[in-house]
Symmetry: C2
Subunit: 413 residues, 2 copies
């Protein structure tokens, strides 16, 4: 008889995160070394609260797995809980170990971003220091694509596909009227420009939009921005601008956190506009044309109606490989993608140490930003196009998507 395995999901939602969960479960079922397949509700918090459910009996058919893979945002719930260092709260670690013993857990898979990898590292170190044979594997996900030591992260491809597609639609929409206009599209990415850069993909099909692109990797300057817009207006009636939510001024302040005295909302509270709204009003105050800002908002991370087939297949595969590497005896590692070739796209699924992943954010390469600092170099397209390739036909009912749900009946031990 084998040991049980436990899966948790953590951090911000992605549209592909349940494809990884699907892969972990699918692979878990195949191996006799693994007995029960359990899920922690709301990540590490579910372990601390013993909110643990049984998964295997709930999902069996191909149709159910397909539905799960097309369900956006963590099917097991998520958390934003950062595990304290061992020294700060050793009892907490002992509690977790006791829970793992109670539930007979020999394998732990944590699907998440930087913070989740930090959690995996801490738990793995602790278990090893206690001589416990519990394999802990980090499984990456994040639309931000800012994890170190992996070519990219599952979830990024689908988000990039949504952003690129939406950009083509916005560009078509904005140009129907014979009037001058500026449209500012605000895209997610607090510190890394990967998502905003993906708005440029439309250019590979001959779109001139987005005409200006600003990433958080480059200091944002209002005067240069105004000059850029004016310059583009000479050539294009409708100017489309893509900005990252995380652009910062030279003083290090986020554009989105800029305020002026007296800027309060209708309820007397300090009001923080997003970067897009701020720039919309800036341009409106400087130029006499129609200005609009569009915040793509959380649709970027949850639009499961627009999945990249490559992303979903890879997210599943990464989940499967996580189980295989654990069974091969690895622990304290993250599963990662190592690209072998752009065209045809070939990638290996490998494992990498967690230290760097947990503490370093992978920024958009400066050499992939054009010298005028308002565009994206061709090289990026070779990188990103394979990741957004292919469409997924999702299950529907009544004309809308049909999602998978686990019954949240907690295991009594």
């Amino acid at each position: 008889m084998g040991k049980n395995m436990l899966i948790g999901q953590s951090g911000g939602p992605t549209a592909a995160i349940n494809a990884t969960l699907s892969g972990v479960i699918l692979e878990g079922i195949r191996h006799s070394e693994i007995d029960g397949i359990f899920g922690a509700i709301n990540g590490i918090q579910g372990i601390l609260n013993k909110r643990i459910i049984e998964l295997q009996s709930q999902i069996k058919t191909d149709e159910q797995f397909k539905m799960l893979e097309c369900t956006p945002a963590m099917a097991l719930g998520s958390c934003r809980y950062k595990l304290p260092a061992f020294d700060e709260n050793p009892d907490l670690y002992e509690d977790i170990l006791n829970t793992f013993h109670e539930y007979g857990i020999g394998f732990f898979f944590y699907i998440g971003g930087n913070d989740s990898m930090d959690t995996v590292r801490k738990l793995s170190d602790f278990f090893q220091s206690k001589g416990e044979d519990i394999k802990c594997i980090g499984v990456p996900k994040t639309i931000d694509n800012d994890l170190y030591n992996t070519d990219h992260t599952p979830g990024y491809g689908s988000a990039a596909k949504f952003i690129a597609t939406t950009m083509t639609e916005i560009a078509r929409d904005c140009r129907v009227y014979p009037v001058k206009s500026v449209t500012i599209v605000e895209i997610m990415g607090r510190n890394a420009g990967w998502l905003t850069a993906s708005s440029a993909i439309a250019k590979t099909l001959g779109f001139t939009a987005p005409h200006l692109i600003y990433l958080p990797e480059v200091t944002f300057d209002l005067d240069k921005f105004l000059a850029d817009v004016k310059e583009m207006q000479q050539k294009h009636r409708t100017v489309i601008v893509a900005v990252s939510e995380g652009i910062k001024f030279a003083n290090g302040k986020y554009v989105s956190e800029t305020e002026s005295t007296g800027q309060v909302d209708a309820f007397g509270h300090k009001y923080l506009a997003g970067a897009g709204k701020y720039l919309e009003r800036f341009i409106a105050s400087k130029l006499g044309c129609k200005v609009r800002s569009i915040e793509l908002n959380i649709l970027q991370r949850c639009a499961a109606h627009m999945l990249s087939a490559t992303d979903i297949a890879e997210a599943r595969r990464i989940g499967q490989f996580a189980v295989r590497y654990a069974l091969a005896g690895q622990t304290g590692v993250m599963v990662a993608v190592k690209r072998v070739s752009d065209v045809p796209y070939i990638a290996d699924i490998v494992t990498v140490p967690l230290e760097q992943v947990a503490n370093v954010e992978k920024k958009f390469p400066l050499e992939w930003i054009t010298p005028d600092q308002r565009g994206i170099e061709e090289r990026f397209f070779r990188y990103v196009l394979p990741l957004i390739s292919g469409e997924v036909i999702y299950p529907t009912e009544n004309g809308i998507p049909k999602y998978f749900d686990f019954e949240k009946t907690f295991l009594g031990i």
Copy 2:
């Protein structure tokens, strides 16, 4: 030899408007009474400026028609130009007639909303008063679904499908964290609640979201809203609210136009928040939980990656019937949809007089709003479900949609 036909597109973009254009062209090709097939660039403005192009030679293959039908926003450009009454500017009417003569136009099809139907009516009346044999047919489109005398309008089904789908995704996204939150989704519809009501479709698949729905047909009250949210928070950790951009207070003012003294933006200008942002800040000031607002923005009208197959097929069919009715001798009418049955969905394409269409907005029926004025009655689902039924697989290249473009070479006469 036949006469030429001229097509124009006008008003706000929809994702289905080019399927109607496709239908008009397809049908025009089939009839020997029709010679050249021309398009006016930017609607009636293109007629006034003689920016007229030839269409038939540019689009021939099934693949091209399919691409055109999946291209969002007017392929011929649009305008927001309202034709003055004849008495105000008779010369303008004579100019238009001269242009029609120059280009040999015997059939005019104008695809648009209320204002466009007004234009068709004025031109048709004028041509008839002059004894001119020029058939003018209005062809409806609008995501707002607010046209009188037609069961619904092409474009609404796809927009409703996008909103309903997005609502399921937002609902899944918002509930992943084990914390209380309120999410306010602002949906288009200045005076009619059809689009906002479509957010309720998720309920047919067992979603509890959106928990509260506010349409412009019902006076909006802040105190009732706060009480509603508090009540829902007793039952649901994450409360999702759908509001129309056009909700108004009892004093007749749009919620989106509400201001308080000193509410200026960073550039010293009066700042108008949208209805969603306003309510977000209101709830944040009253309740201590996480609050977010999401504006679905122009994606509602241009998300051609999420077309309703029923909507597109019907949009095309309406275009085809417009040509047939013109050839049958009708003029000064609008093509309209007359529903025969909900299940199975059967609808006839008929013609209706333009007078009422041009001047009356069709509101969401009050009897389809629940008595507590914050929900939608079951009856609406029977109406809307056929309209969002079926998915369209759109042409892609590089993982993003591939659109159709007409060369804008103006005809020299």
